[in-house]
């Protein structure tokens, strides 16, 4: 065996050890982005081929899953025309107040129990799919993939504060969607005029 082939064999062994064990997470991430299993499978395959070709750029000891998520998201965005406009982000204080409005609107209703008693998965998936991409990806990375804010920030190429804002806004929009779903399903009552206002 030549030095070159031994090095390649070691490189391939390292790739299989590090990257392939992340495949279930990458598959879930891709499916969350595409919402279509066939498209997700294509995206996962493209991600792994690009990762294999660029494996020399991976820093041993760093978070391989985050590196693969970065490639996966970039591939996803490159494969689509960026039609979504950037979302104007609100101030954190306003986010907190708006979250409180959502909570106030359901605190006398059973939506909290509904989270626990009713299979909300289809409604959540629909609401997640309807989020603007920048908000959806932040929610996916932190809430579905359990990444810390700084890991999500590295993947998205934005400051941690931006991840926080996108995450909070995404969660609030999801809660509003689920509130409508609960009302339509008869689990909750519409918010009162008092709690609907923004001058609390």
């Amino acid at each position: 065996m030549t030095d070159d082939s031994a090095a390649k064999r070691e490189r391939d062994r390292h790739f299989q050890q590090e990257a392939m064990r992340c495949l279930p997470d990458v598959a879930r991430f891709a499916l969350s982005l595409t919402r279509d299993e066939s498209d997700a499978d294509d995206l996962v395959q493209d991600t792994y081929l690009r990762a294999y070709r660029a494996w020399h750029q991976f820093e041993p000891g760093s978070e391989c899953r985050a590196w693969l998520f970065t490639i996966c998201r970039n591939q996803f965005l490159n494969s689509r025309v960026r039609a979504e406009r950037e979302v104007a982000l609100d101030a954190p204080e306003l986010e907190a107040r708006q979250a409180a409005v959502v909570h106030d609107s359901v605190r006398n209703g059973p939506l909290e129990d509904t989270f626990l008693r009713v299979d909300l998965a289809p409604a959540i998936q629909r609401a997640l799919a309807a989020l603007p991409e920048v908000l959806r990806t932040a929610v996916i990375l932190v809430d579905l993939q359990d990444l810390k804010y700084d890991d999500a920030a590295r993947i998205l190429g934005v400051p941690v504060g931006t991840v926080r804002s996108r995450l909070f806004r995404g969660r609030r929009l999801l809660q509003e969607s689920l509130l409508v779903h609960a009302q339509d399903a008869g689990f909750s009552t519409p918010p009162s005029d008092a709690s609907r206002g923004s001058d609390r």
Partner: protein, 90 residues
């Protein structure tokens, strides 16, 4: 709120807790701040219901993930594509 504080740490009011509730749920705060908020939530009738609500929401969100229908097939497909790219099985 009334509280018996056995720790020598900062006291937080409800507004400060609400502004940091998501950070608390995501465990993105310092150990001291996590303790302060946990102690506040334990005795605050106003904040605790919102904490429970947000926690239930995050649990529901986590459980809503769409599973892959055939992960074995996907793994085989990716491995096949990588072998075609030149990767050797080791």
């Amino acid at each position: 709120m009334t509280a018996h504080h056995t720790h020598d740490h900062e006291m937080l009011d409800c507004e400060a807790v609400m502004q940091q509730l998501w950070d608390y749920l995501d465990e993105e705060l310092s150990a001291e701040r996590m303790t302060a908020i946990r102690d506040h939530l334990a005795v605050c009738a106003r904040c605790y219901p919102q904490y429970e609500f947000e926690r239930a929401f995050l649990t529901a969100l986590d459980q809503a993930q769409q599973p892959h229908s055939d992960p074995g097939r996907l793994r085989a497909r990716v491995a096949s594509a990588l072998r075609a790219e030149g990767m050797v099985d080791v």
